[in-house]
Amino acid sequence: MSGRMRLTQQEADPVGAITAYPIVTIGAVLAFSLAVAMTWVHWGEVGSPIAAVLALLLVAAAGIIAAVSATPARAPFPVERLWLVVTLSVGAAIAEYVSSIGNNRFLYDDFGPAVIGLLILSLAPFCTWVSAAMAGVLSAAVLSILVFGAAAYTASDAPVAALIAVNSAPVLSMSAAAAGYSYGIISETLAWQREANRAALHRDAELRAGIARSVQQGRVSVLGREVLPFLAGVMTADRISVADADRARELAEALRRALRAGIESTWLDDLAANVRLSRGIDTIIDDPTGAAADLSADQRSALTALISWLGDAERSQLIRVAFTNEGEDGERGAITLVTDVGAAAPTRRELDRFVAVARAVALRADSALTRENVTVELSYDID
C-alpha cells in the first residue's frame, strides 16, 4: 500500500511516463481553449475585462509550466510543480470570479473548476494518487469559498451547499480520475514487478547452474589450462626440476594477479567486454575503485540499457565510461559516459529518454550532444 501511495508512474514506469508526456500539452491546450471559449460565451457577464484577461493568462501560465515540467529532459516532475500549477489555476478561477463578480448568473459556465480538473488530470502520470486527490479536494475547498460570494447573484435559489456540490463536480471528478489512473497504473506496475522478481529469482537459480558450467570453460579454465595440468604433471612425476620450481613461481604470481583482477573488476567490465565482442565497439571502463558494484540494481539496469543502446546500430565508434568521486568528502559518485559518434548519431530526443530513465532511478543526469561526441553525466549519492 505504501508503495502505491509514494510512487508516481514516472518513478515506477519511466518509459510509460515518457510516452504519456504529450498528454500534458494536450491537456494544457484544451484547458486554455476551454477558458477562452467560456470567457467568450459569458463575456456579457464580465464586469472587469482586466481580471478576465488575467484569468486567461494564469491558465496559460499554469498550462505552460505543466507541459514544460513534464518533458523527459526535465524529469523527474517534482510534486511542488503540481502545487504550482494548481495554485496558478486556482488563481485563474479567482480572477474569473472577480471578472464577473455581481453578474455571474450561472456557475455552470465558469471555466475555473474545469480548468483545474483538466490540468490535474493531465498530470496524472507525474503525481501520486494521494497528491492528485489532495490537489482536487483542496482546490474544491477554495472554489467553495468563491461560491459563497457568487451565490447571491446566481439565478438559482438552491441552497449554497447544493451550489458548492455542483461547482466542485468538475474538479473533484477529474482529480478522482487522475488519482484513479495513478493508483491503477502503479498497482499494475507493482504487481508485474512482484511477478517479475519472483520469476527472476527462479531464473537466477537456473542461470547460476548454466553460468557455473560455462565458467568452467571460460576464464577459470584459461587458468586451469595452465595451473591444473602443471599440478597434475607434478602429481605424476617422481622429481621436481628447477624449471618446475620456476614455473610454479610464475604460475603462483599469475594466479594472484588473476584473483586481484577478478576482485577489482565489476559487472561493468563484463558488460564492456560483451559490447566489444558482440558489436565490435571499443568500450573502455575507468573504474579504479570498483564503484560500479555499488550501484543499485535499477541503476545498473539503466546504465546497461544506455551503454547497450549507444553500442548498438552504429550509434558509436567508441564508448568511454569513467567513475569519479565528487564533493568535499567524496560523498557523491559521478559517472561520465562519452562516446565518439558513429554513422547513425543518436538524437537529442532519444537520449532524453535514457536521461529520464536514469533520473527515475535516483541518478542525476545530464546529456550533451555534439557532432563528434555524446556525453552523459550521471551522479549519485554514496551511502
Binding site: 447544493a162 597434475a232 577478478g262
Partner: protein
C-alpha cells in the same frame, strides 16, 4: 528491481488504469449527484429528490458490480438501468417550473458522465471508446425522451460532450502512443536481465578463481620452495585431493591420464612420462584407466564405484591423506536422504573443512557429528586446534570459505562457524533433505 512495465503488458495495463480512472470519476460524479439530491431533499425541502437519490444509489451499486466483474452482461445492465435513471431524473429535474431552462445543466450531466465512464468489459482503446459512445448516445436519448415527456427544452449537454471528448482523446492518445517500439528500443527489461546475469557471472567467476587460487596456490608455493628433488608424497596426495575438489573427479582422472599419454600437452617442460600406460597414483592397470575414462563418475583413489549410496568418502579420504584422524558420531547413512549431487556437495565441503583442520588447526584429530532432523542433514566438523578470528583471515584466503559456503549455499543449505583462538573451531553444515 525491474524498471516499469514490459512492452507486452504496457498496453493492457494502461488500458485498465484508464478504465480505473473513469470508474473513480464516475463514482465521484454519482457521489456528488447523491449529495446534491440529499441537500435538496433536506435543506432545500424538495422531497421529490429522495427518489433521485435512490436511483443514483442503484447506479452506484451496478457500477460497483461492473468494476468488480467487468462482464458484457453487467456492462449492458448498467447502461440500460443508467439510461432509465437518466430518463427519470430528466423528468424530475425538468418538470414545469424548474430553475433549469434547458437540459444543458450540471445536475443532469452528473449521471450522464457516469454512464460514459462505464469502462466496460474487455480492454483496449477501441472497445473502451465503443462503450463510452454507447453511454453517451443512450444518455442523450434518455434525456431527450425525458424532456419530451415533461415538455421542457432540449439542449445537448456541454459538460457531457466535453467528458465524452476527453475519454475519446485519452483513449485515442493511448492507442496511438502505446506502441511497444519505444520500450523495445530502450531495452530496460533486457538490460535488467543482462545486469543480473552479469552480476551472477562475475560472482561465480570470482568464486571459481578464488577457489582455484586458494587451493592451488599453496601447492605452487610448495613446489617453488621445494626446488629440485623428489616429489614429497604428502604434496602429491594433497595435489591429488585438491584437483578432485577443484574441477571434479573426472577432470583429474582424465587429465592425469592425458598427462601420461601426451606429455607435451599442458605439462611443464622437462616433464617425464612413464610411457607404460600406468596411471600415476597407484599402479592401476591400463584397463583401469580406460574404465575411468568411460565412466566419469568413478573416483581416482582406486576404489571401485560399487557402493553407490552417498557417503563422505571424499572427506574421509582427504582426512586420511592429510594424516588426520577423524572420530565420527552419528550415522553416515543419513546421507542416503540426499540426492547424489547434494550429497557430493556436502562431501566435498566436509572434505574442505577437514583439509582446513589439517592445514591450519595444528592438530591431528577432528570430530565429525552427523545427524538428521527437521528435514535437514547436519554435519558438524569440530577440532580443538588453534582456532582463528574470521576477521583476521587474509583476503586471499576467501576461496576456502567460499568453496565451503558456495557448495552448501548452492544446495540451499547453511554454514555456521564458531571459532575461538586457542580453543578450537566448529563448523556446522546443514543441507535440506532431497535435492538432485
Amino acid at each position: 528491481m525491474t524498471l516499469g512495465l514490459p512492452g507486452h503488458l504496457a498496453r493492457e495495463s494502461s488500458s485498465r488504469a484508464l478504465a480505473n480512472a473513469g470508474h473513480w470519476a464516475a463514482f465521484a460524479c454519482l457521489g456528488i449527484a447523491a449529495i446534491l439530491g440529499i441537500v435538496m431533499a433536506t435543506i432545500g425541502g424538495e422531497t421529490r429528490s429522495w427518489p433521485a437519490v435512490a436511483l443514483v444509489g442503484i447506479m452506484v451499486v451496478l457500477l460497483a458490480f461492473v468494476v468488480r466483474f467487468p462482464s458484457v452482461t453487467l456492462t449492458v445492465a448498467y447502461l440500460v438501468v443508467g439510461t432509465g435513471v437518466v430518463c427519470v431524473l430528466t423528468v424530475l429535474v425538468m418538470e414545469p417550473g424548474s430553475v433549469f431552462t434547458t437540459t444543458n445543466n450540471s445536475v443532469l450531466a452528473l449521471p450522464r458522465i457516469a454512464l460514459i465512464l462505464v469502462g466496460g468489459a474487455g480492454s483496449g482503446s477501441v472497445i473502451a471508446v465503443v462503450w463510452a459512445t454507447l453511454g453517451f448516445g443512450l444518455g442523450e436519448a434518455a434525456m431527450f425522451l425525458g424532456v419530451a415527456l415533461v415538455g421542457g427544452t432540449y439542449a445537448p449537454s456541454t459538460a457531457t460532450t466535453l467528458a465524452f471528448a476527453l475519454v475519446v482523446i485519452a483513449r485515442v492518445f493511448d492507442g496511438v502512443t502505446r506502441r511497444p517500439d519505444m520500450r523495445r528500443e530502450t531495452g530496460l527489461h533486457r538490460a535488467s536481465q543482462q545486469t543480473r546475469e552479469l552480476a551472477i557471472r562475475h560472482d561465480i567467476e570470482l568464486r571459481a578463481t578464488a577457489r582455484l587460487h586458494d587451493t592451488a596456490l599453496s601447492h605452487l608455493v610448495a613446489i617453488a620452495a621445494a626446488g629440485s628433488g623428489p616429489v614429497d608424497e604428502r604434496l602429491r596426495l594433497g595435489i591429488r585431493q585438491d584437483l578432485g575438489l577443484i574441477v571434479g573427479r573426472d577432470w583429474a582422472s582424465d587429465h592425469a591420464a592425458e598427462a601420461v599419454t601426451r606429455p607435451a600437452t599442458g605439462a611443464p617442460r622437462g616433464r617425464r612420462s612413464r610411457g607404460d600406460g600406468r596411471p600415476p597414483w597407484g599402479g592401476r592397470s591400463t584397463q583401469a584407466t580406460d574404465a575411468v575414462r568411460a565412466d566419469s563418475s568413478r573416483r581416482i583413489d582406486g576404489t571401485t564405484p560399487d557402493d553407490e549410496a552417498p557417503s563422505l568418502t571424499n572427506a574421509f579420504s582427504a582426512a586420511a591423506n592429510a594424516g588426520l584422524e577423524v572420530r565420527v558420531t552419528g550415522d553416515v547413512a543419513v546421507l542416503g536422504t540426499l540426492g547424489p549431487a547434494r550429497a557430493a556437495a556436502l562431501d566435498a565441503a566436509v572434505a574442505q573443512c577437514l583439509i582446513n583442520v589439517a592445514r591450519h588447526a595444528g592438530v591431528d584429530q577432528a570430530e565429525l557429528a552427523i545427524g538428521l532432523g527437521g528435514g535437514e542433514v547436519t554435519v558438524a566438523v569440530m577440532d580443538s586446534g588453534a582456532g582463528f578470528d574470521e576477521r583476521e583471515v587474509p583476503p586471499d584466503r576467501i576461496g576456502l570459505r567460499t568453496s565451503i559456503r558456495a557448495r552448501i549455499e548452492q544446495e540451499r543449505g547453511t554454514v555456521r562457524l564458531w571459532s575461538t583462538k586457542g580453543i578450537g573451531t566448529t563448523i556446522v553444515l546443514t543441507v535440506p533433505e532431497g535435492g538432485e
